[in-house]
Amino acid sequence: MRPFIYERVDSAQSALAAFAGAPVDADRQYLAGGTTLVDLMKLDVMRPQAVIDINALDRTAAGRIDVGAGGLRLGAMTRMAQVAEHPAVARDYPMVAQSLKLAASQQLRNMASLGGNVLQRTRCPYFRDVSYPACNKRNPGSGCTALDSLHRDHAVLGVSDACIALYPGDFGQALMALDALVELAGPEGERRISFAELHRMPADTPHIETTLQPGELITAFLVPAAPWTRRSLYLKVRQRESYEFALASAAVALDLTDDRTVRGARVALGGVATVPWRAQDAETVLLGKTLDEQAAAAAADAAFANARPRTDNAYKVALGKRTLTRALLQAAAMET
């Protein structure tokens, strides 16, 4: 690991001050749980020169969970396990709790903050291993090793000719499906964006992964209350039963009439895309339909209509469709 300057801060303001105080040309990183950053520093993939430890912010508003009539406010420094096990979150927003509970291990969930979770980097093996010279995400303009190498775990949606690296997260799919907002604190003040605006598709600049400005800090996620949040779930299909990234996953939320007609639907997909992926085409197909197997399958077809599979990851299209179909039918059968 390369040397860095370490500073610990105890508020968003002091975090921003520390960021501004470090040399402008230095690679400056905020350290929360460290489950991505420390790992990638050991691998020499990330090489920050200044590390600003924001863990003490879990004792501020950024460490709080608030459940109100208007929705959820999840402080960005709450840990995954805290939110996964919060009774009101599990009851009223089961998709949110499940997306966190089904990710990583309890040790990692105790460490990882929500803010860090959504910013976790790809698990693409060519990104994580610096002995591969070609990686447009790690080394802009160097090419993409994955395109012509084994790419079984890579994305089929949102891909470009420069990068097919998968967004590995689960919680991000829940935020995507439920129209969450992100609260940011930055050098220019505070602002609020929709979660859908946070991540950038790779296009020809895969090394720029988010729309965050330099120094900007995520302070909270806001999940608005809606008629579909109680009838929601996160279904994750994996190589092994636990402690594994998704091969395919689906975050679905439904508002149904008594005769199972769809009044509202929210769908996001994981394990298949380069960014947290909202499947609005699938939602449109479902509106006004009776939610049966045929309607669910039609929605799944729509969700993957623009998929661009390659040799090794073509299975993700079929698996992703079946995962979404099953998730929709399970959500329809939920007692709410």
């Binding site: 520390a18 460290g34 489950t35 790992d39 840990r79 040790q107 636990s242 402690y243």
Partner: protein
């Protein structure tokens, strides 16, 4: 090692020099200059940015209820600090990348991975390691005893992490069913695949460990 090639060996007392004692001795001598240096440090609540990234950070780690003053390169993981600087070799280095659970310790009562925790970031947050589990009189913790009773290991390398994780699993209330135990212990890998015995050990110990 061939004793004839090691002349210092003959001058040493014939007291048993097992691996653990050898490691502790090595750590003691290596740590001495660090402690000496630490004496000159001011007591600081907050770690201030060093002028030079190669400067050591003076910090106090609270481990198993005892304060330890150390001067560390800020790159040092909590795992390396425990093993190499404090002589607490119970937490094991398996993958060193947060994938195996062998380094599991508790910080503020929550189980975490010491390999992905920077030691400087653990300052001010009490750490418990496997060495802190047994009672003051050396009586084994019920979970330690249960692992022995159920033969819940073969090589034993993952065991300290398994036991720390298992204690936390019970306290969290995640050990009520076999399925829960398997799910919430999934972050601790066992290459010997002692999993059925680990589940049995946790079921034995859960009755005597109060849930938080």
């Amino acid at each position: 090692m061939d004793d004839k090639t090691n002349p210092t060996r003959v001058d040493q007392p014939r007291a048993p020099l097992n691996r653990r004692a050898f490691l502790s001795a090595g750590v003691g001598s290596a740590a001495a200059p660090l402690f000496a240096r630490g004496l000159h440090a001011e007591t600081a609540e907050r770690v201030r940015p060093a002028q030079d990234p190669r400067d050591r950070a003076n910090l106090t780690l609270d481990v198993n209820g005892r304060p330890h003053r150390v001067a560390l390169d800020v790159r040092t993981s909590l795992l390396d600090a425990l093993r190499e600087h404090l002589g607490l070799t119970g937490a094991k280095k398996g993958c060193d990348h947060g994938q195996c659970g062998a380094c599991t310790v508790m910080i503020e009562g929550r189980r975490v991975l010491a390999c992905l925790t920077l030691a400087v970031a653990a300052e001010g947050r009490p750490v418990t390691t496997i060495e802190g589990l047994a009672g003051p009189n050396g009586a084994l913790h019920p979970m330690q005893q249960a692992f022995i009773d159920h033969d819940a290991f073969q090589c034993g390398y993952c065991t300290p992490g398994q036991i720390m994780s298992a204690v936390a699993c019970v306290r969290e209330g995640h050990a009520r069913t076999d399925a829960d135990i398997r799910e919430y212990m999934s972050g601790n890998l066992c290459r010997c695949a002692a999993y059925p015995n680990i589940v049995a050990a946790i079921k034995q110990a859960r009755t005597s460990i109060r849930e938080a």
